[in-house]
Subunit: 145 residues, 2 copies
């Protein structure tokens, strides 16, 4: 999979935003680094290539690209934010508060919930990457014992 640079750039310009080398490099970093990429990992990556690119820009651009639905952000078990490409089929997380283990949830299980929000509240939930916290099979017993 390779993201369509030309299409993304066109989209940004059409919305009045600018395509800067910083934005392109940061997006590329997230793409190359894979899933659940932290701002610090992005900074390390881009810093080698563009040593003057500042941390502030990394944070700003990650936030910006998320607003543009080009990236998806996700809360990890430690409460920190991570990012990844927002393409294709999203997936979600079940995060155990006790053992920190992480289970992936297919997008399909959210369909009916989204639909309910849509029809009953006229609210379109952004489902690019959700995290639900709770307790997994192994840990849910030990709590109530």
């Amino acid at each position: 999979m390779n993201y369509n640079t030309t299409e993304i750039n066109r989209q940004l310009r059409k919305s009045g935003f600018r395509v800067t080398p910083q934005r392109q490099l940061i997006l590329d970093a997230v793409y190359k680094l894979g899933e659940h990429v932290t701002p610090e990992a992005v900074y390390d990556y881009v810093h080698r290539i563009a040593p003057t690119l500042s941390r502030a820009t990394v944070y700003r651009v990650l936030h910006f690209l998320t607003e543009q639905r080009i990236l998806a952000m996700v809360y990890m078990a430690d409460g920190h934010l991570a990012y990844e490409m927002a393409g294709a089929e999203p997936h979600h997380h079940l995060v155990c508060r006790t053992c920190d283990s992480l289970f992936e949830l297919p997008h399909s299980v959210l369909r009916s919930f989204r639909q309910t929000m849509d029809t009953q509240y006229d609210f379109e939930i952004d489902v690019s990457h959700l995290s639900f916290f709770g307790h997994c099979t192994d840990c849910r017993d030990s709590t109530g014992a």
Copy 2:
């Protein structure tokens, strides 16, 4: 509504934790300050009464009381964490990414979703206070126009 101090203390001690004046004061602060209380607001409150109580302790105790299900934490529109008492009937949020407006969601709308997670994944989602981000009635049109 008044929370049961005696019962909470007993519960904590039974689990091997200690009931400290700091923990009691911080819990009291959240209770008195109401919904969506930020760590800084808690610090300001307790600092007047106990000037040596440190910020680190505020963060630690808020986190701790959340683990103990005495408090509930919630992500606000600005991405920051807030806390509130975890008692009785929970409610949830629909937060618009465009206009930052916040709609309250009754607990009931999550029932079927929780049940699905429970039966299909044997995962007990903690529903003390969830936030769903997306786009509200007014803002969802302007996006696709």
